[in-house]
């Protein structure tokens, strides 16, 4: 892996100065193609309702799911719409999942004065044993029971018309069932009481195979997220500097520097600024108190600019926005504006990209987000492991099924860009609590490297992905503190 062949020269710099030390040229990028066009929004109009995105989602995923169902349960199973169901007949229905959750934050309850309720504080998880699952298609919905894990699955969607209010962060619905959900196929029969007894269910499974054009020699991509600039903690600052120094070839002995020259790209997956920069005081405090104060994010962005400048003079960098970065809130997040980074955007090596981000790097397809989709599913499902959730979204065929229900999303109406149409080779999510990685093999020969990129400000860990053999290695940085203990 990284630096295996460097051991011989490890102590090489513990000598008096020698002849002119070598400079290694950075391995050039042989092929880069930005495939994030579906995530780039041009003209934005918020006058539409969210019902459309569900309709296109179902329409887009139905053919694939029907194929999956047939391959799984036989070619002769009956594919029915909910309106065509007959009691007792075993059939397969494709629809969107909806999970009725009592604890789910609802704007209607919050503002309802009759109940005199205090708005619910944010919880780590909103699941409860009493949650119920429902399946909806274009016209109807039906309650599900049986061989289906209520806790594990994520909220489904509702086809009820949703009304969207711009100032609110959570999404109101005309009924309490506002959701986005996973499209799945269930096999079972309708009972007399009107519920659907599920015997088996299946998701879309891995998307179709994308041919592999990867490099034949070692090339690395560094994935880091959650730099968290602008926070009060100083420990992470030295680690960030060490990261920049390793990548730019300043740190390390000659062997390590020559290895670092094989890093062809750096991808920063969101949360470049820390949560502390989200000073909400300006909203709550009186204007005379906040008039001359500067937003905390201004200093943080300056620091980010300097760090990016150091990186950009040495390696191509892709910067994705995250939850706390100065860009729009709804998914897909648009790239940071280059005017915020005057020093770094002078270089052609800096690319400001969307969240989610998709690109072909040296023939390897990368797809990833800054983690909002995964952490949202974490809140509404019993799944605890970020890697498990990441794998599940890939198998469900959708990057963020909970959008726009509990996760902000743009009201698409023509097509849902979050549906996975091709299987990426590297699928990552940023801002995870720890580093995890797994190589997934698909039935049709798909190979996907799943990576959860840890939050750098908390873990001081980044990931190095070798494009040649799709392996991933974490790289940790540390300084020493007053209580230095490893």
């Amino acid at each position: 892996m990284f630096s295996e062949q460097t051991a011989p020269t490890a102590q090489g710099l513990l000598t008096p100065p020698s002849a002119e030390p070598p400079t290694f040229p950075r391995v050039p990028v042989s092929g880069y193609l930005d495939c994030s066009q579906p995530f780039q929004l041009g003209e934005r109009s918020f006058s539409r309702q969210y019902a459309h995105i569900y309709a296109v989602r179902l329409a887009g995923m139905r053919p694939g799911l029907e194929r999956c169902a047939q391959s799984r349960w036989g070619n002769d199973i009956a594919l029915r719409k909910l309106s065509e169901l007959q009691a007792g007949e075993k059939c397969c229905v494709v629809g969107t999942l909806f999970k009725a959750m009592q604890l789910q934050p609802s704007i209607l309850q919050d503002i309802s004065e009759e109940h005199n309720l205090v708005p619910q504080p944010p919880l780590p998880k909103y699941i409860q044993p009493s949650d119920e699952l429902m399946l909806e298609d274009e016209l109807q919905r039906i309650k599900l029971e049986g061989a289906i894990d209520v806790q594990r699955l994520v909220t489904g969607k509702g086809l009820v018309a949703l009304w969207w209010h711009p100032p609110f962060r959570c999404w109101p619905g005309l009924t309490t069932c506002s959701a986005t959900g996973t499209i799945l196929a269930v096999y079972g029969s309708e009972q007399d009481d009107g519920r659907f007894l599920v015997e088996d269910h299946c998701f879309a499974d891995l998307p179709p195979l994308l041919p592999w054009n990867g490099p034949s020699s070692d090339r690395f991509v560094l994935l880091a997220s959650g730099l968290g600039l602008g926070s009060v903690s100083g420990e992470a600052l030295l680690s960030t500097q060490l990261l920049v120094d390793v990548v730019t070839g300043q740190l390390g002995a000659e062997g390590e520097q020559s290895c670092a020259a094989h890093i062809t790209r750096v991808i920063l997956a969101g949360n470049l600024l820390s949560q502390n920069t989200q000073s909400r005081d300006t909203i709550n405090k009186a204007k005379y108190l906040t008039k001359k104060t500067q937003a905390a994010s201004v200093e943080a962005v300056k620091m980010l600019d300097e760090i990016l400048l150091q990186l950009c003079t040495s390696v191509p960098v892709d910067v994705m926005p995250g939850e706390f970065d100065p860009t729009n809130y709804t998914l897909p997040q648009q790239p940071l504006h280059r005017c915020m980074l005057p020093l770094a955007s002078a270089y052609a090596t800096l690319r400001l990209v969307t969240n989610p981000y998709q690109a072909n790097l040296d023939g390897v397809r990368f797809l990833g987000t800054s983690g909002q989709n995964i952490s949202d599913i974490f809140k509404y499902s019993s799944m605890d492991d970020y890697l498990e959730i990441l794998e599940w979204t890939l198998l469900a065929g959708h990057i963020s099924p909970t959008a726009p229900d509990t996760l902000g999303c743009y009201p698409f109406y023509k097509s849902d860009p979050f549906i996975l149409t091709e299987c990426p080779h590297v699928y990552f999510c940023g801002n995870a609590p720890h580093f995890q990685s797994k190589l997934l093999q698909g039935k049709e020969g798909q190979r996907v490297l799943l990576v959860t990129v840890p939050d750098f400000s908390a873990t001081q860990t980044a990931c190095l992905i070798n494009l040649r053999d799709l392996t991933c290695q974490p790289i940790t940085f540390s300084g020493f503190g007053a209580d230095s203990e490893d």
Binding site: M1, S3, L13, G249, Q250, A348, T349, S484
Partner: protein, 332 residues
């Protein structure tokens, strides 16, 4: 021996100036490759310890290697104090690099002085921060102004935008040749840094792209040998020394500039330098300076007193922000 000069330099930095000398700081200060800087530090430590075993020297090292953690092989990069070096090395299954990170007189409690030293030296060398690094990237070239999509400048100050634009402005979209430090500070952020200091330093380096600036500067510098007080006012104390140093190489430059048809240039050459004209010239070159530098402030003409230019500009800028804010609150 010239080679041994670095030993004396490091000695001076560490013992006399009591600095924290990191390899990066040494590399930028002495202008050497980072690996050479690391070796220099090592050499210094070895020699110093050999000749004087009671030397008050504390060293931090950088150790990097592979470590087995949670079932997978993790690459670890750590800065450790000398006393923890062996412990860290024994923890790593394979060691990929060990080198000196910094030398300082005092024992460091934590690594923040290291970070601060590196931060400061990088900040002052932002424009060529990868110059002494071991990796050079061919793709890392500044965008040419043609390629970079530029928002059309507002109608009020198109001229002022363009002139500093030619000189390498806000986003550093300058001609690649003019990569000297001041350009990065042309934006609002760096406007008030003492970049007046670096201006005279640049003219020897820069091409004639900055026709307007150079005469202004040379006009100013031509007075350097004569009236120090005025120069003090013009640039500020920090610039004085650099100005004196660069005034000599600029003399031949001025003669070259005679050929250039430029209003500002003809003035210092044709007319003898008299006291009466100085304020006029000073104000004009000051204005040129201001126009070039303070492209954003439309009230540059208001002040002719360069001494207070910087703080006043700050004040001007504050006024502008204040006004905007008071406008909005008035409306409310």
């Amino acid at each position: 021996m010239a080679d041994e000069l670095y030993l004396e330099n490091i000695d001076e930095f560490v013992t006399d100036q009591n600095r924290v000398v990191t390899y990066k700081w040494l590399s930028y200060t002495l202008g050497v490759h980072v690996n050479q800087a690391k070796q220099m530090l090592y050499d210094y430590v070895e020699r110093k310890r050999k000749e004087n075993s009671g030397a008050q020297l504390h060293v931090t090292y950088l150790v990097a290697g592979n470590l087995l953690q949670n079932g997978h092989v993790c690459h670890k990069v750590a800065v450790v104090r000398e006393d923890k070096l062996e412990a860290m090395k024994s923890k790593l299954s394979t060691i990929t690099s060990v080198h000196v990170y910094s030398i300082q007189k005092a024992l460091l409690k934590d690594s923040s002085p290291l970070y601060n030293t590196d931060y400061d030296i990088v900040k002052t060398n932002l424009q060529h921060c990868s110059k002494f690094s071991a990796i050079c990237c061919a793709a890392a070239v500044p965008r040419t102004p043609r390629d970079a999509p530029r928002v059309p400048a507002p109608a009020q100050s198109p001229q002022r935008h363009r002139d500093p634009g030619a000189a390498g402005v806000l986003n550093g979209h300058g001609p690649p040749a003019a990569k000297a430090p001041p350009q990065q500070h042309k934006g609002i952020m760096g406007m008030f840094a003492a970049k007046a200091a670096s201006k005279p330093q640049d003219t020897p380096k820069e091409t004639k792209a900055e026709a307007k600036e150079a005469p202004g500067v040379s006009a100013a510098s031509s007075k350097a040998p004569t009236k120090n007080n005025i120069m003090n006012n013009f640039f500020g104390k920090a610039a004085m020394n650099k100005l004196k140093a660069s005034s000599v190489p600029e003399q031949p430059k001025e003669e070259k500039e005679v050929v250039k048809p430029s209003v500002a240039v003809t003035e210092p050459e044709s007319s003898p330098i008299t006291v009466g004209e100085k304020p006029g010239k000073k104000s004009e070159s000051g204005r040129i300076q201001q126009k070039d530098k303070k492209s954003k402030t439309k009230r540059a003409d208001r002040s002719d007193d360069e001494e207070e230019r910087d703080p006043e500009n700050v004040k001007k800028k504050r006024k502008r922000i204040k006004q905007l804010q008071s406008d909005s609150s008035d409306e409310e």
